[in-house]
């Protein structure tokens, strides 16, 4: 981090390497005569060219290869790839196999949200450099967070074989269905986690939140019967309501010089917001009565547009995922086949699922042998990039007189509100403030 005072009327603040985000990025903010002139979210995560290296590979490899885009949310990539391939092969995965997919996604949401709530985001609100620093004064809460996180990992391990880059997910379902006993062994810890998640909601709702309500276009999946994971139509708070196959008819990507991650925009409308706050605000009615009650009791409305409060929404989603995991496991009987049969054929297919950080879209074209001819992947952070820049613009404008060190930290926090995953978006942070 560097603070440079050029002269009495001008300041430059930069964070060269933004901490507690996954991946590499930074921010540059230019202020002239007390006005914000420019905000750039700089992403210098080295490009890894996934969409190019998928060409020529077999459709079955897509879930394993795309998982490697992100170690924090591999399930999102595996699910998006599987659904897109199944779209090509006209396969609908139903019944227990579909439930198992929801269960492994519950594991990823619990793990990823607990990591962000307790280890990456909460320390900002309480003024600690990290959860490890926070643990010295708040050992009970950090231990609670680690235990919730561990449960998420255990669900992924039982269903997926391991927590990072699970090996059991395949087009059509799973290589092997877990035994009823192995899943039921998770129930006592899930019962504990229900109380722990409620405690987490109460704890995070009492953190100090700045007044910062923004006018967002929220975009999320919407399913007629469920809080969304893998399926649904794409809807927005501005009236978008489309099948996922129309994604690129409404959303375009552009390549800006200051980022190795493409920026996504709604055509003719501009930036939009994906992630837990969008999901929650567009799907509150799909949460169970007990989760709705816990959200209301924390003071959260049916929608939330203060990004600093996304930490409460994540805690609410942990509770939802815990309940959903309990429900799935209690009804589980081992399926006769661990994956559903299909016939490989040529075509183009789409998959869009709710990663912990928001919608993650995949499109593939394969030939009649299932060889990938074209791949397009739009991760959540690349969709939020432009919106993060606008949040920063307003936040700095609203707090222009803050001293540099405080401004720096609060800008970092405003970015961490999005739980940005930079390795994903490049397939992202560093704060640089330039004041004159």
């Amino acid at each position: 981090m560097k603070n440079k005072d050029k002269d009495s009327g001008s300041r430059t603040i930069r964070v060269d390497y933004l901490a507690r985000v996954e991946g590499e990025g930074g921010v540059y903010i230019r202020i002239r005569d007390g006005q914000v002139k420019d905000v750039k979210l700089k992403i210098f995560e080295p490009p890894r060219y996934f969409e190019a290296l998928l060409r020529g590979r077999k459709y079955l490899e897509a879930p394993d290869i795309t998982a490697r885009i992100c170690g924090i949310c591999p399930i999102a990539y595996q699910m998006g790839a599987c659904h897109a391939m199944e779209d090509i092969f006209a396969l609908r995965v139903e019944g227990t196999v579909r439930e198992l997919r929801r269960l492994i996604y519950c594991g990823e949401w619990i793990e990823s949200h607990a990591l962000h709530v307790f280890m990456l985001h909460a320390p900002d609100f309480l003024g600690y450099e990290s959860a490890i620093h926070m643990a010295k004064d708040h050992p009970d809460i950090v231990e609670l967070g680690l235990r919730i996180k561990k449960l998420g990992n255990e669900i992924m391990t039982v269903v997926g074989g391991r927590e990072i880059h699970p090996i059991n997910v395949r087009v059509g379902g799973f290589y092997k269905a877990p035994s009823r006993e192995a899943l039921r062994a998770l129930l006592p810890e899930l019962e504990w986690a229900r109380d722990a998640a409620e405690q987490t909601i109460r704890w995070v709702s009492e953190l100090p939140f700045p007044e910062f309500e923004q006018a967002y276009e929220f975009v999320a999946l919407r399913h007629p019967e469920e809080y969304p994971f893998n399926e649904g139509r794409l809807i927005s708070s501005a009236g978008l309501d489309i099948p996922i196959t129309s994604f690129f008819d409404y959303i375009e990507e552009s390549h800006v010089k200051h980022s190795t991650s493409l920026h996504a925009h709604m055509k003719e409308r501009g930036n939009y917001f994906v992630g837990p706050m969008a999901r929650y605000s567009l799907n509150f009615d799909q949460l169970s009565p007990s989760v709705q009650e816990a959200a209301r009791a924390s003071g959260l409305g049916e929608t939330c547009s203060n990004p600093f409060k996304s930490i409460i929404v994540r805690a609410v989603e942990i509770l939802h995922a815990v309940e959903e995991a309990q429900r799935i496991i209690q009804c589980y009987e081992e399926p006769r086949e661990s994956f559903m049969p299909y016939e490989v054929r040529a075509g183009t297919g789409h998959g869009c699922t709710e990663a912990p950080r928001g919608i993650c879209y995949h499109r593939y074209t394969v030939d009649d042998h299932g060889i990938i001819e074209d791949a397009s992947i739009v991760p959540p952070t690349s969709q939020n990039q432009s919106r993060i820049e606008e949040d920063l613009y307003h936040y700095v404008e609203q707090n222009i007189d803050l001293p540099d060190d405080k401004m720096q930290w609060q800008c970092e926090q405003a970015i961490r509100n999005y739980d940005p995953c930079i390795s994903c978006s490049c397939h992202f942070l560093k704060l640089e403030m330039d004041r004159e």
Binding site: L18, A19, R20, V21, E22, G23, E24, F44, E45, P46, P47, R48, Y49, E51, A52, L53, R55, K58, E61, I65, R68, C70, G71, I72, P74, L115, M119, E129, S130, A131, I132, H133, A135, P139, V142, E143, L146, K149, K150, N153, G161, R162, I164, H165, I167, N168, F174, Y175, K176, S254, H255, V256, K257, T260, L262, S338, W409, E412, S423, H427
Partner: protein, 262 residues
């Protein structure tokens, strides 16, 4: 491993190059050990977990990711200079990772497939392991690494001993956990016989063949395995792809893939 000064806590740094962040997440995934590790060791530079940065030099540097940009090829030199012991974690840092598939194709073409303005992108033609650039004291394999092996490497370093991470094949792990050979009994092609142990032989236990996350074992007989796969009806093209996975640029896998392509 070099001696640690016992009068103060050793300083740990975690560095990231081109990667998915999964291997450094493995450290945060040690939920039961994390606070104890943080007691025994000073987490001096770990941006994914903390905004606090303690100045080097560092007693132990864990390096994740491969070298893919001109800037990173300079950065690793500086990191080596401030690190007493440097350990690479994971397939990217140890063999170049999945992004090393670019080493077999044209990087300019790849950039133009992904980016509208490839001229904005500064990228090397290759993705290379850390050991191609600086001296590496120990390489921990895996895509991702196994967190128990990571704890073993950190404890070994703390006690000035060599880490106990076997160099034998995945086959040994299958025998240990009592998994019947998927290749022999069910005709499922498996990279286990040429892949280093460490994952716990997960894939065969889930009815699928090993796909080589941990890279080549010591002295692997890739030719014999390729012949075995061919007898199962696997095409040369599919065999090439099997070797060109997450450790494509590791020498034994690279050579076998290249030989099959000719």
């Amino acid at each position: 491993m070099k001696r640690v000064n016992q009068t103060r806590k050793p300083k740990l740094a975690v560095w990231k190059f081109a990667s998915c962040d999964g291997c450094q997440l493995s450290l945060l995934d040690c939920e039961d050990e994390l606070l104890a590790v943080a007691d025994a060791i000073e987490i001096a530079n770990f941006p994914e977990a903390s905004r606090a940065v303690v100045k080097g030099p560092y007693d132990l540097s864990l390096v994740e990711g491969s070298i893919t940009t001109p800037h990173d090829s300079e950065r690793i030199q500086k990191i080596r200079k401030v690190s007493k012991t440097l350990v690479t974690i994971g397939a990217c840092a140890t063999s170049g990772g999945i992004q090393a598939l670019r080493n077999f194709g044209e990087v300019e073409e790849m950039a133009s497939i992904v980016y509208a303005h490839p001229e904005y992108i500064q990228s090397l033609a290759t993705s290379t392991p850390i050991s191609d650039h600086v001296t590496v004291d120990f390489e921990l394999r895996g895509c991702p690494i196994n967190k128990n092996q990571l704890v073993e490497v950190i404890s070994a370093f703390l006690h000035n001993r060599k880490p106990n991470t076997p160099g034998h094949s995945v086959c040994v792990e299958c025998k240990k956990r009592g998994t019947v050979c998927v290749m022999v009994s069910r005709g499922i092609p498996c990279l286990g016989p040429v892949t280093q142990a460490g994952c716990g032989a997960i894939c065969p236990a889930f009815n699928r063949g090993c796909y080589g996350c941990f890279g080549p074992m010591e002295t692997p007989n890739t030719r014999a395995l390729s012949d075995g796969w061919k007898k199962l009806g696997v095409t040369d093209r599919d065999l090439v792809h099997a070797y060109r996975g997450f450790n494509a640029y590791a020498e034994p896998f690279r050579k076998e893939g290249d030989a099959l392509e000719k």
